[in-house]
């Protein structure tokens, strides 16, 4: 296969950046998208041109490092991660446009690499259950209905790639934040801190400069792990009820 690549090149955070066009003539349909870029990079290095920088690591769709905006979609045409996208999803002669995630809260570091530490700071604000190591009760002490455990699990499968932000016209991080809020709001272990948690995480999300949610559901449509927007609804409810009362006992557990 032969493809034409239009790739965003930007030397440093303050550089203006521009698209550069490459003719890639050695593409096999069995290559993953990232392997296609590996081959391009080898050719560039041989020619004395700087290779294209992009984040990647596990290449099996779980670490959340890869983050390319391909032909107007985060992670490209399929609902999967870029590393799991293969060139057989494209046609010989296609033009493929590759951009970094674009969001104020994800500043560009170089080429296609962006800074997603805002996500970590949101998690640090409250995305945990306050238990110290040791002294935990027996794991079977608290039975959790399978349906609830499964729902929490679905939310917990978020890989933190940021596709939801990249997909959203407002660059909103609501899907990402709500996935963690939901996981812990659903589980009994997370209930004691649920009000404080949602307040702190939302406050940090706003402080990082992510936009508001206007319910276009682009995030859900593009999420490689299929995280559901129901989580956003749940987070809104959690947030609203936490603003009505600070203490758990006043609302009788909040269920």
């Amino acid at each position: 296969m032969k493809v034409t690549l239009k790739i965003w090149r930007q030397k440093s955070p303050n550089d203006k950046g521009a698209f550069k066009t490459y003719q890639h003539e050695h593409v096999s349909p069995d290559m993953s998208f990232l392997e296609m870029l590996d081959v391009l990079n080898t050719e560039l290095i041989k020619k004395g041109e700087e290779p294209v920088h992009f984040d990647h690591d596990c290449r099996e769709g779980i670490c959340g490092a890869c983050s390319l905006y391909i032909n107007g979609h985060p992670h490209g045409p399929l609902q999967t991660t870029t590393c799991q996208l293969h060139m057989r999803s494209f046609n010989d002669g296609d033009t493929i446009v590759i951009e970094p995630w674009r969001a104020k809260a994800f500043p560009i570091i170089k080429d296609l690499v962006v800074d997603r530490t805002a996500f970590d700071r949101i998690q640090q604000a409250g995305g945990y259950i306050s238990v110290n190591t040791g002294g935990a009760p027996d794991a079977n002490e608290i039975p959790i209905p399978k349906i609830v455990a499964d729902e929490a699990f679905d939310a917990a499968t978020c890989i933190g790639c940021g596709a939801c932000v990249a997909a959203c016209k407002n660059a909103s991080a609501m899907l990402f934040v709500s996935a963690k809020v939901s996981q812990f709001a659903l589980l009994p272990q997370g209930k004691p801190e649920r009000k404080e948690r949602v307040k702190k995480m939302v406050a940090q999300m706003d402080a990082e400069g992510f936009g508001a949610c206007t319910n276009t559901k682009a995030c859900e449509a593009e999420c490689p792990k299929g995280i559901n927007v129901t989580n956003i609804a749940r987070m809104n409810r959690e947030f609203f009820s936490s603003s009505l009362s600070s203490y758990e006992y006043q609302v009788g557990g909040g269920d």
Binding site: S28, S32, E50, C58, C63, T133, P143, A149
Partner: protein, 641 residues
């Protein structure tokens, strides 16, 4: 050098309890006077950082990723073992201990393994309390499955994403300590050296991967939680960034490296599709429960999966079922892998490269119906379809073994301390618990055991012994010297300006290691490989081409520095494989086989841990032996016939 494993005296079941009592404690008010460095944020690193922060130490934690959550623990699929015996099927701490020592082919320390089995039960409690959503039964209690041929159901799991959920639990616990100010996180920061002063680890040198800035950090102790080195084979199931550099630089500063040749090869991976291949994808071992492994009786060049369905039964060789009638397709990982290699070596491999065997589900689909198979393996079949373009419901899968895990690592004593005082190694980075072969669902257990339940005790003993005054600041000349060395090394790499890319060298290294130090090894091959790597190393330092500068994000430079270390490690793996002229676990020496070609262990000569000491550039390393003593487990030869 005398290796002291510091294994406590007394009956096996009481060693850890007694030892914990005998360890010194740090007064709560004094804990804040101690600084601890943790390198790596996988299961071992994140759990250690969180637990030490909770205790009150000042922790600095480093990762070269953009976020701690990217560490490769995230990709573990299967599950985590624990001797909870929730299933009432006869499991116990002693049984988990016994299975792990036996599974490791009797090359692990009994005392370490027993401790691992003891704390396994606490890990599950801890993770559930953190909100890790393990699989549950309809009654709301935790679900278990049998894994990797174990006779009891002791594996806890979270669909096929157990590693992800456990890592996110440890990541969350660490985040809480970051919020509390007890843990300071450094992302996109790579450790490039350990600083040793007066024989003790005093800190590390790092490179900020965005700005290229070289910095020094001092502490009372340094914990390396930096994973394994499967990427020495270039193609492996490990993530692209996995590397040996942190452990290797520590090795060059005096930490012994133990059993480097012990690598685990997983039989069910998706085969290589071409020269562009950058990594291999693991397909869960559970597939062998229903899939039948076969190749044609006589080789057919380039046989495609879609044509396989036309090959009549009489012309198929179900080689695992034929050779191992009682275990069949469920023989252990190393046996299944080796046999796949043999049939490919005979020219009977399938697919475009001839390096693959079929894993066929047609009989299972006929027997149980497509729906049942879909319920069991649906996500795996979809993944296979996505990657290869073949539909496994209609045609057989093609699989081939790939390197998956490294049992070897930095030598540590019972306290997880390396041979350099104050320098610790946790998780896959150390050698301690899996012997010559790791059992399925035991890697996650060990990473979390080390970080949550072992290091918080053993580190305190060391810190209390040295006292908080015993610290060296970054103004010490040793830090400056180490920084200069690191900077020179980077400048040297950048100044070569040769013709070959880093990946080309890495790929070549991988091919040498896979061919001569992979599934099956012999003296002549190892000797040849050693020479080839030496030539490759020389060529690398003459001809590698790295563009860009030192003071910017430069992925090629990062890779080059890691590949340089992997090449040196490759040589040591070969030395170790040559020394160990026996077949045990993942290490198969052709010279040590039974008449029908099965592995033959040699307990009289090789029941030891091989710990290697670095003696300087291009000097042969010196072997130290730690004899293994088995007081509880009876040594037997494995048989799957």
């Amino acid at each position: 050098m005398k290796l002291d494993s510091k294994i406590p005296a007394g009956p096996i079941a009481e060693k850890w309890t007694k030892h914990k009592f005998n360890l010194k404690l740090v007064n709560p008010a004094n804990k804040r006077k101690y600084d601890v460095i943790v390198v790596g944020t996988g299961l071992a690193g994140a759990s250690a950082a969180a637990s030490l922060g909770e205790l009150g130490y000042n922790v600095k934690v480093f990762t070269f990723h953009d976020s701690p959550r990217r560490a490769h623990s995230i990709a573990a699929q299967g599950g985590i073992n624990a001797a909870k015996n929730y299933q009432n099927d006869g499991d116990s701490i002693y049984r988990l201990f016994y299975d792990t020592v036996k599974g490791g082919d009797y090359r692990a320390r009994e005392a370490n393994v027993h401790r691992l089995a003891e704390v396994s039960v606490d890990i599950i409690d801890q993770c559930v309390a953190q909100g890790v959503p393990f699989a549950r039964e309809y009654g709301g209690l935790l679900s278990n499955r049998s894994f990797g041929g174990a006779q009891v159901s002791r594996t806890f799991y979270a669909r096929g994403q157990t590693g992800q959920q456990l890592l996110l639990g440890a990541y969350a616990a660490m985040n809480r300590q970051i919020a509390n100010g007890k843990v300071k996180l450094f992302t996109r920061t790579e450790m490039l050296d350990v600083v040793v002063v007066d024989g003790k680890a005093r800190g590390i040198i790092t490179r900020n991967l965005i700005t290229g800035k070289i910095e020094s950090h001092s502490a009372h102790a340094v914990l390396l939680c930096t994973g394994g080195y499967s990427t020495v084979f270039y193609l492996s199931t490990n993530a692209k960034a996995c590397n040996v550099s942190a452990a290797w630089r520590a090795h060059k500063k005096g930490a012994l490296f133990a059993n480097p040749c012990f690598t685990q090869i997983h039989p069910t991976c998706i085969p290589v599709s071409g020269d562009h291949q950058s990594k291999l994808t693991l397909m869960s071992e559970s597939l062998r429960n229903d899939g039948r492994v076969w190749v044609p009786k006589t080789g057919i060049k380039g046989l495609k999966a879609k044509d396989a369905v036309n090959i009549p039964e009489a012309e198929r060789d179900y080689f695992l079922e034929r050779r191992y009638p009682s275990f069949g397709n469920l023989v252990p990982r190393d046996v299944a892998s080796r046999n796949a290699k043999y049939v490919c070596d005979e020219g009977r491999g399938v697919g475009p490269t001839g390096l693959a065997v079929f894993l066929d589900f047609s009989d299972a689909i006929k027997r149980d119906g497509r729906k049942t198979i879909e319920a069991k393996y649906g996500n795996l079949f979809d993944m296979y379809h996505q990657i290869t373009g073949d539909n496994p419901y209609e045609v057989p899968m093609m699989i081939f073994p790939a390197v998956h895990y490294t049992m070897g690592g930095l030598w540590v004593d019972y306290n997880l301390m390396t041979s350099v005082p104050g320098l610790y190694a946790l998780g896959e980075a150390n050698f301690s618990d899996h012997g010559a072969n790791r059992l399925g669902a035991s890697a996650l257990m060990q990473g979390l055991a080390d970080g949550y339940f072992v290091i918080p005790y053993t580190l305190g003993d060391y810190l209390a012994t040295i006292g908080w005054n015993d610290k060296v600041g970054t103004d010490h000349p040793a830090f400056k010297e180490s920084m200069d060395q690191v900077t020179n090394n980077i400048n040297k790499l950048l100044s070569i300006k040769g013709n070959k890319t880093v990946d080309e060298f890495h790929r070549q290294l991988g091919l040498i290691m896979w061919e001569y130090c992979g599934m099956s090894r012999n003296e002549a091959g190892l000797k040849k490989a050693k020479k080839m790597i030496q030539e490759l190393r020389a060529e690398f330092w003459r001809d590698v081409k790295i563009l860009g500068g030192a003071n910017e994000l430069n992925a090629e430079l990062e890779k080059a520095s890691r590949v340089a270390d992997l090449m040196e490690l490759g040589e040591l793996m070969i030395d170790d494989a040559r020394d160990r002229n026996e077949s045990c676990g993942g290490h198969f020496r052709e010279e040590s086989a039974t008449e029908d070609g099965e592995a033959r262990r040699n307990d009289d000569q090789y029941a030891y841990v091989a710990a290697w000491e670095y003696k300087g550039e291009n000097q042969p390393e010196v072997l130290h032996k730690e004899e293994l003593v088995f007081e509880n487990v009876k040594l037997t030869q494995r048989s799957y016939k």
